[in-house]
Assembly symmetry: C2
Homo-oligomer: 234 residues x 2
DNA sequence: TCCCGTTTCAAACAAGCGTTTAATTGTACG
DNA sequence: CGTACAATTAAACGCTTGTTTGAAACGGGA
């Protein structure tokens, strides 16, 4: 049967993860993967059936623990709060911190896997849709429910939107770390992603606490006076 | 010389934009593009030199006006404020609204181009790095300077980080609209992207106004050991 | 030892890719 | 008209892609 270390299978997964994270799924050939893994080309089809099967395996290995951690973190936060709505900041951390830990722990993939996750919602969107949408949806719905209790004045669809903002704010800097370097100078990159993700917590907390956007009137007064310009053309 | 309507060139651009937005650059073949444009295969290399040249042309056509609008919007906001720091909300709108307008105006590309832009920072990152990094960087630096004046207590690197959060929060829902549908139900998609982007403004305003994260004291690490005390703020 | 299922291997496969060629058509101008 | 240049076309180029094949090597149980 399969060895516990299963060198071939594991090395294919590691090499594929590395290359997928670096240059994307579509542009990574099986030959590049098997060369890096120092394994025969046919081994991929033998162990994973197809390239698609390999892609699914690569992502599943990382996404499942991540989603499990997010759910269990949320349960803990709720349990600690008793029956009352938990603190918004705790909920944000329950969602964000598992990603930070993923990036910190080489056994879970380390920095490489962060870039891999960043591609989940773009390059690998097809596979994601096919294989993981259900599980991820469950996670988001759970968080949405809790957030609705914390922010009873915020309409459900605005909660959903802000959750999407949060996912984007988390995903983009992870995926585009090196691009960010070009765009904003080196300082963003000299600090590690962990620091950045921790700074995301107060940003998201404040964003969620922003007053609801009233649907009939275009804008209600924000937290501060807003004078000056009428809305000018583009 | 080139015709003003230049049917061949324009139809290649339109078809490529459509397919790039739908399935990405790497997985879109020149044959698929020319078939959709009902144009000969060799026309791409004749008019654009290579596939890379086509990719650059497709993105340049949309990115240049977008960045120009963001810069001129910012100038207007600053001019309207006189010498004083402009309102944060105006600055956020100056950054976000051009994207909304892009999605509303079919002449500028409409919804298709929104998905295209969503891929800018992932799939097309290579081309982006090569051709557009400089221009985009200039835009971000200008905004960063203005934000530094509005939020003097926020360290520059945290401004950069929050700008990255903003870009992500804007990019992701645009790029992954259909994925969002699967994840959070249909409501997110029944409303249009424009509404969503407008809701992003107060979210981002509040996020930027969040107090700076002090660098020396680091938060207790995990969700496990943490009192769920409400953080006083706002 | 032999056997048998599992795993590895080199080689080849058809299909699709971006690009190039050389010939043809279209079109404006002297 | 005829010439010159721009644009289009069908066909082919060489190369890479994911996948399959059939044989070789491995590794414990009888």
């Amino acid at each position: 049967m399969t060895n516990l270390l299963d060198s071939t299978r594991e090395r294919i997964l590691a090499a594929a993860e590395e290359l997928f994270a670096r240059t994307g799924v579509a542009t990574t050939s099986l030959r590049a993967i098997t060369a890096l893994a120092r394994v025969n080309l046919a081994a991929v089809n033998y162990h994973f059936g197809s390239k698609d099967g390999l892609v699914e395996a690569v992502y599943r290995r990382r996404l499942e623990p991540l989603n499990r951690a997010r759910l269990s973190n949320l349960e803990k936060v709720e349990a600690a709060a008793g029956g009352a709505p938990p603190a918004l900041e705790d909920v944000m951390e329950a969602f964000i911190v598992p990603v930070v830990k993923l990036g910190q722990d080489p056994a879970q993939g380390g920095p490489t896997v962060m870039r891999l996750l960043g591609q989940t919602h773009t390059e690998a969107a097809g596979y994601f849709r096919t294989y993981f949408a259900g599980e991820y949806r469950e996670v988001l719905e759970r968080y949405q429910d809790v957030l609705a209790r914390i922010l009873p004045d915020l309409p459900p669809e605005q909660i959903k939107n802000r959750l999407a903002f949060l996912v984007g704010a988390m995903t983009y800097p992870i995926a585009e770390r090196q691009l960010l370097e070009l765009l904003t100078g080196e300082e963003v990159c000299r600090q590690d992603i962990d620091t950045m993700m921790k700074q995301l917590v107060p940003f998201a907390v404040a964003g969620f606490r922003a007053p609801p956007v009233s649907s009939r009137r275009k804008r209600a007064s924000s937290t501060r006076k807003k004078s000056s310009s009428t809305r000018s053309r583009q």
